[in-house]
């Protein structure tokens, strides 16, 4: 029980393909762990209570709010952040390429959450309609209101990804 009563725990997880081990406070969110302990500041924090969607990351392939998950809950999980989406340092993921081409980001604050949310969605729905894309990003706030280019970029990326590119 002494272990159960502690306010800090050891957490082991794989982040963007690299094994990580750290002692973290149990109240530290996964978002703060990624940003502050691992220096992966691509994951953005807007509201810290699950509304804005900026902090969305992939945990075992599922898009989740990293502000609504404790770092200690990532024990044994594989986490992918925006830094881990591209296949290598010189190649963008097709979704990132389409975002750049369609100017689907202006200030870029919402972009990491948009990309991670859409990545899981496109796995489950490889040929979405524009309406389905609008609904799936309804939980990701873009204050530049750049939704139209985001939808256009996603439609194009989906086609590229279906083609095996």
């Amino acid at each position: 029980m002494s272990e159960d009563r502690s306010l800090a725990r050891r957490v082991n997880c794989v982040v963007n393909g690299t094994a990580q081990a750290a002692e973290v406070s149990v109240r530290r969110t996964l978002a703060d762990y990624l940003r502050q302990d691992l220096g992966l500041t691509g994951t953005h924090l807007g509201c810290e209570h699950g509304v804005c969607g900026a902090c969305t990351v992939l945990v075992d392939g599922r898009a989740v709010r990293s502000c609504l998950m404790l770092a200690v809950q990532a024990e044994g999980c594989a986490v992918t952040t925006v830094e881990g989406i591209a296949p290598d340092v010189v190649t963008l993921h097709p979704l990132q390429t389409a975002f750049a081409k369609h100017h689907a980001l202006q200030c870029g604050f919402c972009t990491p959450g948009m990309l991670t949310t859409l990545l899981e969605f496109l796995e489950e729905v490889p040929a979405p309609t524009a309406e389905e894309i609008r609904i799936v990003i309804s939980g990701n706030l873009c204050r530049c209101t750049g939704y139209e280019p985001i939808v256009a970029a996603t439609l194009e990326a989906a086609a590229v990804m279906r083609g095996g590119a």
Partner: protein, 288 residues
Amino acid sequence: MKAPPFEWHRPATLAEAVASLAAVAPQDGRVLAGGQSLLPAMALRVARPPHLVDINGIAELGELRVEDNALRIGALVRHAAFHRPVAHGPLGALMAGVVRHIAHWPIRTRGSFGGSLCHADPASEWPLVAVVLGATMQAVSLRGDRLIDGPAFLRGPLETALAPDEILRAVTLPLLPADAHWGFEEVARRAGDFAQAMALVVLRMDAIGRVAEARIGIGGVEAVPRRLAAVEALVNGRLPSATLVEEAGRAAAAACDPMEDAPYRRALVRAVVSRALASAAMPQALAA
């Protein structure tokens, strides 16, 4: 903001979780399921449980299966599990239709069916489903298991029949017969936002197309979701028609007792009940 300090307990089995909760419940210890309501409440400091019993490591709570003509949903089954039908027939389709209204995709991957029921937000969809479909909740504590039916489980906004040391283990929903028709309608200001009013209608028809058995419930308006007996009585035995749909909406508006914005909420109840009944009873007529 960040959550205030707490002690975190991570039981590996349900028996350990029950023991752990029994130990911390007297100090306002809480169960942490998907965390999509509790963690934001803690970040906003409106909830300050000094102990969290995290049930995410308990495999049996994530089980979903059909047995004895019912769907048994482990308390920790995530909303996203219902994106595709989990059972043959109308029940799987109904759940897949309703789940799209629950928050947003990355909330549904983590938020849980049982957590939604235990949180008992009047604007939540699963409590309405539980009441209309006749769900049975299975709760467990050191005193053993007990079964609680939907209406008895939901006591008020954010209030359930669970004792502080009880954990919701599973929820059982009877399968719907193959000839059941359903309709669900919700009004929310934005996609994924809290419902302002919703209605779930489940019908069975007789051989000549009259309504043999209607179940009509509303949520998001009163303190807890509720079946409207007066509206069900009005619809039973009638042939579906535009007139009946209109009458049912009006009767529902008169029968409900909104917590706030009464005239507006009544207007919404009228609309969602009419639409849900129409989509259950005569989808072809709606399309025409």
